[in-house]
């Protein structure tokens, strides 16, 4: 047992509830975050290409960006909440070690968020400045991902926490960890690929009104999706072999569930790639969205594998109290119903063109 690992606090209900919520919220966050990353990257690319259709596409994606940021943050909050309930004692410790970078996350995100609004609202007036703005937004997203990967790996490697004793000022990164870089590249490549797919879907939807723009979005989006998913085969393999052997072997037969999940994930990825090459946008998305869920489960297997020597959520103490859970479930149902009502009213306007 590593003596630095803090003692966890007591849960109000069994950890399984939080695990289920985490496994629901995190992939939703990922999908939104991927769409956000893809929109920023392809908007920048289209703007740099500079053709009339490309400019229009860049602007359309710029309009989507602030919404995607808002919801990516919102679902990120939910995922981070449930992560902290189960793994808080690991997560807070690693966060303190890299406090300066960790605190910079919301601060630079705020800059990116306002920049995205500026990019949207002043798109025409910005001209060349728009490229720099979009590039900055994209760079901030990549930096945020880098800090997240650092924290998410550092929390799993308590043996690396001794770096604190040389540097208590909060500027420790986990760059020396074997798995950090391949993991970062794996997530960013996957995120951009899924972002490309989102842009393609957006193009398919937009194409009904503006076929030229739609076709360009589908073309760019699917190129990004297929190209990066091919690259992902190499990066994914690198990530797999960079894992500690005990963790890696979980996917290669040591754990039945992990092995099956891994096989399903690889199959879904290859199928989505095949559909991508055939420009079957909806089919690719239909395969890739469950793939993100499967990848989230695989990621969770990796986390459990790393923490297995020190921690298992089953050991967390529970002082049962179910009424607050009920409050959450009822509010969630009422909230979803309200959201559906509002969106239906909005859709009605768009349909009627009021």
């Amino acid at each position: 047992m590593n003596p630095l690992i803090p003692t966890p606090d007591t849960l109000p209900v069994s950890w399984g509830y939080f695990q289920s919520l985490l496994m629901l919220m995190f992939p939703l966050h990922l999908l939104l975050m991927n769409a956000m990353l893809g929109c920023a990257a392809l908007s920048l690319y289209a703007l740099m290409k500079g053709g009339e259709t490309d400019k229009r596409l860049a602007h359309e994606l710029a309009k989507a960006l602030p919404f995607l940021i808002a919801f990516a943050i919102n679902f990120g909050v939910a995922a981070l909440l449930f992560l902290q309930v189960i793994y808080g004692n690991f997560f807070y410790a690693s966060s303190v070690l890299m406090a300066v970078f960790w605190l910079s996350v919301p601060l630079i995100l705020l800059i990116a968020y306002y920049a995205a609004y500026l990019y949207d609202f002043r798109f025409a007036a910005l001209e060349a400045g728009g490229k720099w703005l979009a590039a900055m937004v994209l760079a901030i997203f990549l930096a945020v991902a880098f800090f997240f990967t650092n924290n998410m790996t550092l929390m799993l490697e308590p043996h690396r926490w001794t770096a604190y004793f040389r540097n208590p000022g909060g500027t420790v990164l986990n760059a020396g960890s074997a798995a950090m870089w391949p993991r970062y590249l794996h997530f960013v490549t996957g995120g951009l690929a899924m972002g490309g797919l989102f842009v393609a879907l957006y193009g398919r939807f937009k194409g009904r009104r503006d076929p030229e723009l739609g076709a360009r979005a589908v073309g760019l989006g699917m190129n990004l999706f297929t190209g990066l998913t091919l690259l992902q085969i190499l990066i994914g393999l690198w990530f797999l072999v960079s894992l500690p052997s005990t963790v890696m072997r979980l996917f290669l037969g040591d754990s039945g569930t992990a092995t099956v999940l891994f096989a399903v994930g690889v199959t879904l990825a290859l199928a989505a790639l095949g559909a991508g090459f055939k420009r079957r946008v909806v089919l690719s998305a239909t395969l890739a969205i469950p793939l993100v869920f499967v990848m989230t489960f695989l990621r969770d297997v990796v986390r459990s594998g790393y923490l297995e020597p020190f921690f298992s959520p089953e050991t967390l103490r529970v002082a049962p109290e179910y009424s607050p859970l009920l409050l959450f479930v009822v509010t969630l149902m009422a909230g979803v119903a309200t959201i559906v009502w509002m969106l239906r009213k909005t859709a009605l306007i768009n349909r009627n063109g009021v």
């Binding site: 803090p6 606090d9 909050v77 807070y92 303190v96 609004y117 909230g335 509002m342 009021v354």
Partner: protein, 593 residues
């Protein structure tokens, strides 16, 4: 002691929390009241069939969206990040106790975002009734967010019944919940008007500007008046110790309250000028100053609320430094460092005393004290303290100053911390053996008074006072200043302290001369049989060369322990020892033969 400490000695985590929290709270209250304002402004536009008012509402909704969803939302996340970095133990507790409260608040956060997007982007495109309903949905979601966060924040100030019967509900509906909710709702509506002044000030159409400035002014003034009884109820509901800190025991809160009071006065006066005069040219600077005074008020309120919780981060449960109240007796018995997960100095050794003291400082003091920073600088606070004074001070930290946590460690650790502060930070000599009990008035002054007062301050405040008046004042310090804790020393100690304070106002030259005359007598009576000052067989001055007054005075209390114990103890009253010290110091400076 469960978690590592993010150590930025010159800045301090508390200041970072305060900056982010104040900015967020200033925006998030606007996010609640401003939503209701939008609904009513739109209704006003519809009823008066005014396109100008509706256009104003739309443009204010855009400002509202950019301010609350972007800055409000992200600074809310930033607060969560910063408290988990500065108070990881407390954050973990709050997350675990109230996880479904946070989760429910997240649902409202989601509804809020979607509602305000729909509200803004469908403005003028949706039928009035439905559009206003969307506005109401936004407001209700925002208010329920406040409802939930309010319960959790107030739990930190007043856990109330939870301490005996821990449950989500007993913590959530704590003694401060309802008054705080009403107070914050009133403040939120006030801020709706304050922020709206910024938009109205930029209206080009004069009639609309006047109309909406008046409308916004009513929001400010009505809410302002409503906030007063709510604030009084709030104040009456908080724990008595927190009330005492606000009432005067805490100098930092006094400063914040003063700033808050004047900002409210400025806010009211400027709002009245805006509402009654509706000055065209001055409306922008006035709106800006109203905005700034509202910000200062919010900052003062949040600062006071946080500071009034001291010495706790969660009242009655966890101290500001993350140590649980329940753990303190065990830590005082068995020691802190062996069980502090992130401490490296598990055992105390003379050669590593300073390192151990430094770790104790980081884990127990740094939560509130910076080293050389703007916030609660430990260097300034301990400047006037000697080592024995610091030792005595650490023993009675919480008793003498309620808002400081007790030192949670054993006596050897207290010694290490005192060495670190006095020698490591202040660069003063550390002499063991000179205790507080029976010590001189100066030592008492340093341990009891020097954390807040330097000698010059006390000298000027007591100029013209005779000894009897000073002695009487020491019986009831809180009568002199409600912020001062009463002195709990014995009658003798009060007498010594009074003598010392009297001596501060004696003419220095005369005092030195008197001290030297009497000191010479003491020297002759007690020392001269073995020592001369200079020359001769056993000169004393070379032995104390380079010693300051304090070290000489301390040595006189422990002569039998010096130089292998060959000297007898000096059996003389403290006043004689003081006089002898003055004589020797003067002799060092060439004042005596």
């Amino acid at each position: 002691m469960n978690y590592p400490v993010w150590y930025l000695p010159g800045i301090g985590g508390g200041l970072l929390v305060a900056i982010i929290a104040i900015v967020h709270v200033f925006i998030s209250h606007f996010a609640v009241g401003g939503g209701l304002y939008l609904v009513f402004a739109e209704r006003k536009g519809i009823r008066e069939k005014s396109r100008a008012i509706l256009e104003f509402t739309r443009s204010h909704a855009k400002f509202f969206l950019l301010m609350t969803v972007v800055a409000g939302g992200v600074t809310g996340v930033a607060i969560w990040f910063i408290i988990s970095l500065v108070h990881p133990g407390a954050t973990s507790l709050l997350i675990h106790i109230f996880v479904f409260g946070w989760a429910t608040e997240w649902v409202f956060f989601l509804v809020e975002i979607i509602a305000i997007f729909v509200y803004f982007y469908t403005f003028g495109k949706m039928d009035d009734r439905t559009h206003q309903a969307i506005g109401w949905i936004y407001f209700l979601a925002a208010w329920f967010s406040l409802f939930l966060i309010n319960g959790i924040i107030d739990f930190m100030l007043a856990p109330g019944f939870w301490l005996e019967h821990p449950s989500f509900w007993s913590g959530f509906f704590n003694p401060v919940f309802w008054p705080s909710l009403l107070f914050r709702t009133a403040v939120a509506c006030m801020f709706a008007g304050v922020y709206a002044f910024l938009t109205t000030a930029f209206l080009k159409d004069e009639a609309t500007r006047r109309s909406m400035t008046g409308f916004s002014g009513k929001w400010v003034l009505v809410s302002y008046v409503a906030a007063i009884p709510c604030g009084i109820w709030y104040y009456a509901s908080i724990p008595s110790q927190a009330r005492a800190l606000i009432a005067g025991s805490s100098p930092t809160i006094q400063r914040a309250l003063l700033a808050g009071f004047w900002s409210l006065v400025v806010l009211a006066v400027l709002t009245l000028i805006l509402v009654i005069g509706k000055p065209a040219r001055l409306s922008r600077p006035l709106a800006l100053f109203v905005f700034l005074s509202a910000f200062v008020f919010m900052g003062a309120f949040e600062w006071s609320r946080e500071a009034a919780r001291r010495p706790y981060v969660i009242n009655g449960l966890m101290y500001s430094n993350g140590i649980l109240l329940a753990e303190v007796p065990m830590l005082q018995r068995s020691g802190f460092l062996p069980v502090a997960r992130w401490a490296t100095q598990k055992e105390l050794h003379e050669e590593s005393l300073m390192d151990a003291g430094r770790e104790l400082f980081i884990f127990q003091c740094y939560a509130c004290h910076t080293i050389g920073g703007v916030n609660n600088d430990i260097l300034a606070r301990t400047k006037g303290m000697s080592y024995p004074a610091m030792r005595g001070y650490l023993r009675k930290l919480h008793e003498n100053r309620y808002f400081m946590p007790p030192f949670a460690g054993n006596d050897a650790e207290a010694r290490a911390l005192a060495v670190f502060i006095v020698k490591g930070l202040q660069g003063k000599e550390v002499a063991e053996g000179a205790g507080i009990s029976g010590g001189a008035g100066r030592t008492l002054f340093e341990s009891e008074c020097a954390a807040c007062h330097d000698e010059e301050h006390i000298r000027s405040r007591t100029a013209g006072w005779d000894r009897a008046r000073i002695r009487k004042g020491l019986d009831k310090l809180s009568a002199l200043n409600p912020g001062m804790p009463d002195f709990s020393g014995s009658e003798d100690e009060k007498g010594l302290l009074a003598d010392f304070i009297v001596s501060l106002n004696r003419p220095q030259k005369g005092a030195s001369a008197a001290g030297r005359d009497h000191g010479e007598e003491v020297f002759e009576a007690n020392c001269s049989m073995c020592h001369t000052l200079r020359g001769g067989g056993n000169p004393l001055l070379p032995k104390v060369a380079g010693w300051d007054r304090q070290r000489i005075r301390q040595a006189l209390d422990m002569l039998d322990k010096l130089r292998g114990g060959v000297m007898p103890p000096l059996n003389a009253p403290p006043a004689d020892k003081d006089a002898l010290t003055a004589f020797l110091v003067a002799a060092q400076q060439g004042g005596s033969k």
